[in-house]
């Protein structure tokens, strides 16, 4: 048993590019300093596909460079209990049970055709949502979208 535990701890943990992300609470003041489009990446702790996209796509060299140079990235845990003030409006965690619930801002942003699924990638310019995708995105697809939004 001791060996199994030792073995598990020895499994190398790969290092990845540092990802620059902001809290949604900072957005209002950030936009005041420099206006940029915002990428919301909306996930939950139990969503493994979200984790995969965060680690492999968002943290890839090209995407993280693109994001840190041209966008504000917000990684939003849809089950976060933190209050968020965004564009002057206050959003809170909406409880549905003892250990259940969703954050109002995450739900409002991620909702597509009446339903929500994770991961959700939402891009906003000013007050407008210009792009929404409710599934895993490959690096190439995300780069294409990020490029197109900048060109528009």
């Amino acid at each position: 048993m001791k060996y199994i535990i030792a073995l598990i701890f020895l499994i190398p943990v790969l290092s990845q590019a540092q990802l620059n992300s902001y809290s949604a609470n900072e957005l209002d003041s950030l936009q005041y300093v420099e206006e940029r489009p915002v990428v919301f990446f909306i996930k939950t702790d139990w969503c493994s596909i979200c984790l995969g996209m965060e680690n492999k796509v968002l943290k890839s060299e090209a995407v993280s460079k693109m994001l840190s140079e041209n966008y504000y990235l917000v990684i939003l845990n849809a089950e976060s209990k933190e209050d968020i003030v965004f564009k002057g409006k206050r959003y809170v965690f909406e409880s549905t049970g003892l250990n259940e619930g969703k954050h109002q801002l995450a739900m409002q942003l991620a909702k597509k055709d009446g339903t929500v699924s994770f991961p959700s990638t939402v891009i906003m310019i000013g007050n407008d949502v210009v792009y929404k995708n409710n599934s895993f995105m490959r690096e190439k697809d995300l780069m294409d979208v990020l490029g197109l939004v900048l060109d528009s």
Binding site: S95, G97, K102, V116
Partner: protein, 562 residues
């Protein structure tokens, strides 16, 4: 209706009560504002089974929303493919109604209310049986009417501290006849729980108090007592108040320790302490997680509600002593490794080692006397131990899930180890799916393998297998999805046409004599082999160890409006 299903392995949080030692399954239903506006599904099988589901969501103003679900299942076409004169599959007529309300309150506080009602009429037995023979001693059938209601809710108290009141109540009414044997039972449960959640630095504290009231009454000796030589009914009432305290301590960036202590007082059995400890380590990128957990559990067995064989009337039920609660100690190691690749390939490995020690376990004894089921406290100890591994893979339109468990469930009494009956030594399960997005089709192939089980025989001459052979159930389904919200699906269940008849001359002993009218005994009470009864058996429906339903096709329609 379901958002997600959580499987908690090992001793769960103290929150879920003293019984949740081996883990638990948490079904989280969709909140009304996430469910589709309307969903409808109908499917039927070549055996004549019909299932209908209807779901509807409505909003009342800004702050109230509701979800209504209706389910109807019917199977009323008796089939006897194995030619034993008995129905292969239990006939069923079931209706259920579900309603959940969600009220939005200030500061995102919760108020939900949900209710469910189920009515079910099921029977199985002689092909010639009709309802007028219910409870008679001429034509045999097991017939059960069940009516069950549930009400549950969550209300967060209106102040700054996070205090939640959870409440539930349910009533279960069962009216059954096993041949001419009667089992009528009522169980009513009321439950209330207050919990307070508080974050203090690195500590996430949870404190709470709960009260459970259980009323149980049936027509058996389980709820009877003797007063001055007369047997009178004595319904059982149990009060179970409890308090619990839990500290989830994130003592390092990647490490969490969860310690919990729960104390309950059972008005019949006294003090119950159930401590729990969990440790969790995650790698910095969260792709590796290790969980260690240990704890104790406590359970009061009710043989009549849990053990179908105790009811069939084929054997008399004997209690050798007052049954004590089952107490257990459990340890669990779980390791999850996630791997993801930029091309979208995603892998998830999940391995668990589990061990549970029971210092008492109520195990039915079918072996000592074929006329009896004997229940007693365990003289020695029981164990349940094993390893389970699950692998998930996703790549573009392909999903694969494969899992397996090897386990040993046995008891040790007087230095003799006895494997628990009807318990597989291994199981395997798989689910392979492919999404043909361009043509709007989905293909799914699922299967299970069940390892050998020890099975109860009636006599030394009994020709049925004493241990089952490994078997597999496999299914295939194809779905066509249209843009307007319509889906058509169909497929084949039990492709290999496996039934427990395979390798057995029969599975129910002496269906031709279900009331044991022609069974003869020697002076010691042992069954005699006679020309009419060459294997010295009696009527015994308790051997069936897998679904007795062979290959069948099914087709269905699903319609969703978001």
């Amino acid at each position: 209706m379901i958002e997600r299903v959580e499987i908690v392995k090992g001793p769960a949080s103290t929150l879920y009560g003293s019984e949740a030692v081996g883990g638990l399954i948490n079904v989280i239903t969709k909140s009304p504002d996430q469910a589709p506006l309307l969903s409808a599904e109908v499917f039927g099988t070549s055996w004549g089974e019909i299932n209908t589901d209807l779901g509807y969501r409505a909003k009342f103003g800004e702050n109230a929303s509701t979800l209504i679900g209706v389910n109807y299942f019917n199977y009323s076409n008796p089939i006897d493919n194995n030619g034993d004169g008995f129905t292969d599959l239990t006939l069923q007529d079931r209706f259920s109604l579900f309603n959940k309300w969600n009220f939005k309150r200030k500061e995102g506080r919760v108020f939900t209310l949900a209710g469910r009602y189920v009515y079910e009429d099921r029977w199985g037995g002689d092909m010639d049986w009709t309802p007028e023979f219910r409870g008679s001693d001429s034509i045999y059938a097991e017939t059960i009417y069940t009516s069950r209601w549930e009400l549950l809710g969550n209300y967060q108290l209106p102040f700054k501290e996070k205090v939640m009141f959870m409440f539930s109540a349910n009533g279960h009414d069962q009216n059954s006849r096993y041949g001419d044997e009667v089992y009528d039972a009522v169980q009513n449960i009321g439950f209330g729980q207050l919990t307070w959640v508080k974050k203090l630095g690195l500590h996430n504290l949870l404190a709470g108090a709960a009260l459970r009231y259980t009323f149980y009454d049936d027509n058996t000796t389980a709820t009877a007592k003797e007063i001055e030589g007369k047997i009178v009914n004595d319904a059982s009432e149990i009060y179970l108040p409890g308090i619990f305290l839990q500290d989830e301590w994130k003592f390092a960036a990647q490490q969490t320790l969860l310690m919990g202590l729960r104390y309950d007082y059972n008005s019949l059995h006294g003090d119950i302490f159930t401590p729990r400890i969990n440790y969790k380590w995650s790698s910095r990128n969260k792709m590796n997680t290790l969980r260690l957990s240990a704890g104790s559990g406590y359970r009061v067995a009710n043989v009549f509600t849990e053990d179908h064989a105790a009811l069939t009337g084929a054997r008399d039920v004997v209690f050798l002593s007052d049954l004590n609660p089952e107490t257990s100690w459990n340890g669990n190691i779980n390791y999850v490794r996630k791997l993801s690749f930029e091309n979208g390939l995603f892998l998830n490995f999940d391995a668990t080692v589990f061990y549970t020690y029971f210092d008492n376990k109520i195990i039915p004894d079918y072996e000592t006397d074929p006329n009896l089921i004997i229940y007693d406290n365990l003289e020695g100890y029981a164990e349940s131990k094993g390893v389970s591994i699950n692998i998930d893979a996703r790549y573009k339109h392909f999903i694969a899930r494969v899992g397996g468990t090897i386990m040993d469930v046995s008891s040790v009494e007087n230095d003799e180890r006895i494997r628990q009956e009807f318990q597989e030594s291994y199981t395997m399960t798989w689910n392979l799916g492919y999404d043909f997005t361009s043509i709007g089709m989905k293909l799914e192939y699922t299967g299970n393998v069940y390892g050998p089980m020890v099975l109860p025989l009636i006599s030394d001459l009994d020709p049925r297998m004493a241990e089952s052979k490994p078997y597999s159930i496999q299914n295939i389904q194809i779905t066509k999805i249209f843009d307007n919200g319509l889906e058509i699906f169909g497929g084949v269940k039990n492709l290999l046409n496996w039934t427990p008849n395979k390798g057995n001359p029969f599975i129910i002993a002496r269906t031709n004599d279900p009331f044991d009218e022609n069974v003869q005994y020697d002076p010691n009470g042992n069954i005699l082999a006679t020309p009419d009864n060459p294997y010295a058996l009696k009527f015994d429906p308790d051997y069936i160890y897998g679904a007795n339903q062979g290959i069948r096709g099914f087709v269905g329609l699903r319609y969703t409006i978001k």
